[in-house]
């Protein structure tokens, strides 16, 4: 294991960086899109609610790999050439945004409906009440589950290995076939993933206990 770190440390670190980069980009965009659909799901207009519902159910029930491969195979064939990293990240954004939408929606619904009614009675419009009263309270409930979604995102970003995204998993495969020491390579890759996910996971558990 140590010899793997010595010989291929640079490649592994590059992969770690790409994994982290992809996860952070995906988190930011998934958070924006996800919150958007979560709000659409609680607006009074039924049309928007149906659209949000369909989006969420579709992307929640199709494997991440199918979405990612679609962007990797179909889009370059018909529309525009995109890199493996980009197609992987787009797939990850769409997939995670559906889960984040569910998380944020349950956060919004856990805010007492009286808050919205009170705000409306005070003369705020629906959007004002949402923006200034409901969402700030909802986000407090939502932080621990969002942290867990981020952990899932880091784990799911390993799908970039399928589309030559040069992430940690991809580098691991390259090193494994180069060094012929598959077992110790994958153990090294596992340790690096744990460095990203395990502290976050324990911190989220602590946060959940503190908020509960």
């Amino acid at each position: 294991m140590i010899s793997i770190f010595q010989n291929y440390g640079g490649e592994l670190l590059y992969g770690l960086g790409q994994t982290l980069l992809c996860s952070i980009i995906a988190l930011v965009f998934a958070l924006i899109i996800g919150s958007g659909f979560a709000i659409l799901e609680v607006v009074p207009n039924k049309f928007f609610r149906v659209i949000a519902r369909v989006y969420i159910e579709v992307f929640r029930n199709i494997p991440l790999l199918v979405i990612t491969m679609f962007f990797y195979v179909v889009i370059p064939m018909y529309i525009v050439e995109i890199s493996g990293f980009a197609s992987g990240t787009i797939g990850l954004i769409l997939y995670s945004s559906a889960f984040i939408a569910e998380t944020v929606r349950s956060g919004i619904q856990s805010v007492d409906p009286g808050q919205m009614e009170g705000a409306r009675a005070n003369g705020l419009s629906f959007w004002q009440a949402m923006r200034y009263i409901v969402l700030p309270q909802a986000f407090r409930y939502v932080i621990p589950p969002l942290g867990n979604q981020f952990i899932n995102l880091v784990k799911n970003s390993s799908v970039l290995a399928f589309v030559a995204g040069f992430d940690l998993m991809y580098q691991g495969n390259v090193i494994a076939s180069d060094s012929l020491q598959s077992m110790s390579t994958y153990l090294c890759v596992g340790v690096l993933y744990l460095i990203l996910t395990l502290p976050l996971s324990y911190y989220m558990r602590y946060l959940e206990k503190k908020l509960a």
């Binding site: 579709v58 491969m69 889960f99 998993m169 390579t185 744990l194 996910t197 996971s201 959940e208």
Partner: protein, 234 residues
């Protein structure tokens, strides 16, 4: 247009269905294995046997925080280094079972924790031993609370079987790739077929989970269970 419709010829559909059969086979095998091991590990983690529970808890945490693809690779390419060489189907069943039993174990632990302490105290004070109380009083209630969370976990298991194409498991995803690899005109129809087939399986399971939630009247409690479970995908 005709070339596109050719993608859905009987031969292709049958080939896809063969893949779907492997997907279902692998999913069902790993569901059964992960349920059995998950419940055992979850109980071990809850009852706090000296040293054993701490070790089991730590191992569960490690496995839950690793990507499934890594575990699949490790099983298929890593284990042959120490002389164990599974074929793709067994490798994916083993990898899925290991990963999902860690997930199920966490759900089981959360389910047991969600039962009020008074239940255990009451059972003990009526003369039951610790294990009797666990077996007859706590577990039946806990399992009822965690059924929806477990069904959700199994939905992500079905989706995750697609990851095993990377070790050439002849599943739905892999067969679709073979078809569009032979004729690039079939790419979009194949992705459509993939999306529809996975969606039908997963969405019906998700409806089942909602129905069970409603039927068992556990909506609120299973919400509590899911809150305790970290890393659950829904």
């Amino acid at each position: 247009m005709l070339t596109v419709l050719g993608a859905y010829s009987w031969i292709n559909i049958r080939f896809l269905l063969e893949g779907a059969w492997v997907t279902i086979l692998v999913s069902v095998c790993s569901i059964i294995l992960s349920y059995i091991f998950g419940v055992i590990l979850g109980i071990i983690r809850y009852v706090e046997i000296k040293y054993l529970s701490a070790i089991v808890g730590f191992v569960i945490d490690i496995i839950r925080n690793l990507p499934l693809i890594l575990i699949i690779f490790f099983t298929y390419f890593g284990l042959p280094n120490i002389g164990f060489k599974p074929d793709p189907i067994w490798a994916s069943v083993i990898a899925m079972a290991v990963f999902e039993s860690a997930m199920v174990a966490e759900i089981v632990r959360a389910g047991i924790v969600s039962i009020p302490v008074g239940q255990m105290e009451g059972a003990r004070s009526t003369g039951m031993s610790y294990w009797q109380a666990l077996r007859y009083i706590i577990l039946p209630q806990a399992i009822k609370n965690m059924i929806p969370a477990i069904v959700s976990q199994f939905i992500s298991l079905v989706k995750d079987t697609s990851l095993a194409t990377i070790i050439v498991l002849p599943d739905l995803m892999n067969h679709a790739q073979i078809i569009y690899g032979q004729n690039t005109n079939y790419t979009i129809p194949m992705f459509l077929a993939l999306a529809v087939m996975y969606f039908i399986v997963c969405y019906s399971l998700s409806l089942l989970s909602q129905y069970l939630d409603h039927r068992l009247g556990t909506a609120k409690k299973s919400g509590e269970v899911e809150e305790v479970v970290q890393g659950a995908e829904r």
